[in-house]
Amino acid sequence: MADTSRSPLTPEAISQKLQAAFAPDVSFALHQLPTDSWLEVAAGEWRKVAEFLKNDSALAFDTLCNLCVVDQFETDLKKKNPPPPCLWVVYHLFSFVHRHRIVMKLQLPRGQATGNEQLPVVQSVADLWKAANWHEREAYDLSGVMFAGHPDLRRILCPDDWIGHPLRKDYPFPETYAGIQAK
């Protein structure tokens, strides 16, 4: 059953569409890769961009396939020219209407995930895509990113009393947990 209303867009076309809608306030950097091309957007502008991605009829990204955080932090001191430390929040979006996909990335400072926590903050999209609700909880739990406006930002995989965010590259392996020797 071929849907005539279906018009898939390339990442370049999606990028141009976003540029046209948000210029000159927001800029989008398109990173072309042979695998999945991705678009970088300033973290502060993410919320309104996300709303546009979901509600614009030509884009119509009706589902969020994946949300995760990549911690860019080189722990190997011998490595030459390591990339600057930061966190990337990655959104893989898909449109069932048009059958096209896009990867959106936001760059965040790493903040402080141990001791006196100072976690970076990004606007939640849990009300746009309900799939984001648990994914954002997981990203908070494991990677230490706060999602402002999330209805229920609790840990999801680790116990509530867990200290630290294990998917951070500089996460210290705990010596004990609840009195149990762990090392």
Partner: protein, 412 residues
């Protein structure tokens, strides 16, 4: 005067009782693994369901950052341990997408065969366990008898019965054996002698020929069973829009009437495996559904799985015919500590429970910077709260079972 039909339940449900918290799990037999549900109930009516996860969390993604690419393959089949082949395949294809590698024709045919056998084995457990949830024990025994034969076949190709690590980067670890002893189970059921030397493909064909007529038995036992229909029809109704918003995939999505299957609609690296095969994608609503069934209910999700088993058999028969003439080796070389190209790849494949995605980010080392698994069951479980609002307490396991979740994959 308007006619008022009195529902005897009206009176009972009008009486409000104290709200009660009920803890279900994590060791509950119908929670399909270590899942804990906190139910807020008013008498028999459930107001709120809060799932608590993490009892099986093993930090698989963190481990993946410390292992080279082939070393992480054994961790992928321990996530969805009822469909290890499909998980191995999803991860291997993601890495191949990053490498720009295309596997030989023979490897593709072998992958299709093991992936579809894995799908049948997984759906058999889904069916049997769902019967158990609803109080019917026999289908479970039937399902495990059949599944055992598939595990025997898998054991002959890779030595393992559950955690295969068989599909690997560049193809599969071994070609199908030329000669195997016929397993005692298959020999008994087909009236042959155990240990009789046969080729692997012959044994697999023997299994399929024996298995195909059995499906009508499951339909008689479960699908069209009046009690089963009463427990599943028009319950846990999931509208298509909500399913998409929650990123529900696989049989859960198709049970809500969305015609989408990655084997047909996915990315070229995955769909090229299924090029030239004729198969249907079962999507609700079904013309032959019993009275009372509505789009997106428990029964529809269950029936999608049952029909998928039939389609997998069709694919398998075509793959068996292709196998002898499929050229190219079964594997392209990939070294244990081979360096990855700088870049990233995300790929979803159609696992039995839905679209499981792998995301590999590399900075040029043999170990990835990030090895992420997007679990289909994770998203499918997230709708439980919405589906269980206002249902009877006894219907919670019926709805949960129809989602066919896998805790190993949710908690990773």
């Amino acid at each position: 005067m308007p006619i008022i039909v009195e529902d005897p339940r009206d009176i009972e449900f009008d009486v409000r009782t104290d709200e009660m918290l009920i803890n279900m799990g994590p060791q509950h037999p119908s929670s399909h693994g270590v899942l804990r549900l906190l139910l807020k109930t008013d008498g028999e009516i459930v107001h709120e369901v809060t799932p608590h996860l993490g009892y099986l969390h093993r930090c698989a993604e963190k481990i993946g950052e410390h292992l080279s690419i082939p070393q992480w393959i054994p961790y992928t089949d321990r996530m969805d341990y009822l469909a290890g082949m499909n998980m191995n395949l999803g991860y291997s294809l993601t890495v191949e997408k990053l490498l720009g590698m295309e596997v030989p024709e023979r490897a593709k045919v072998i992958r299709v065969i093991v992936a579809e056998l894995g799908r049948i084995a997984s759906h058999l457990v889904g069916m049997g366990a769902y019967g158990l949830d609803l109080g019917s024990f026999s289908p479970f025994l039937f399902a495990f008898r059949e599944r055992e034969l598939i595990l025997d076949l898998f054991e002959e190709v890779c030595g393992a019965r559950l955690t295969y690590s068989y599909v690997t980067i560049g193809g599969v670890t071994h070609d199908f054996p030329e000669e195997i002893p016929l397993s005692p189970g298959l020999a008994m059921l087909t009236g042959r002698t155990a240990g009789e030397p046969v080729s692997w493909i012959t044994a697999a064909r023997l299994f399929l020929d024996w298995f195909r007529p059995r499906i009508a038995e499951y339909h008689a036992l479960l699908t069209r069973n009046h009690i089963f229909v009463q427990r599943t029809a028009a319950l846990g109704v999931l509208p298509a829009e909500l399913a998409i918003n929650y990123n529900c995939t696989g049989p859960v999505l198709r049970g809500s009437g969305v015609d989408f299957d990655l084997r047909r609609d996915g990315e070229p690296i995955y769909t090229s495996m299924y090029n030239g095969y004729t198969f249907q994608i079962p999507v609700a609503p079904f013309g032959d559904a019993p009275y009372g069934v509505v789009l997106g209910d428990n029964w529809s999700r269950f029936y999608v799985r049952m029909l998928e088993v039939v389609e997998s058999i069709r694919i398998l028969e075509q793959a068996f015919d292709r196998y002898p003439s499929a050229t190219g080796g079964h594997r392209l070389p990939y070294r244990l500590t081979q360096k990855l190209p700088v870049g990233e790849a995300y790929l979803e494949t159609e696992c039995p429970r839905g679209q499981t995605g792998f995301y590999v980010v590399s900075d040029g080392d043999p170990e990835p910077v990030r090895a992420r698994v997007k679990s289909s069951s994770f998203c499918n479980l997230a709708i439980l709260g919405d589906l269980c609002r206002g249902v009877l307490l006894a219907d919670v396991p019926a709805i949960l079972g129809s989602l066919d979740i896998m805790m190993g994959e949710i908690d990773r």
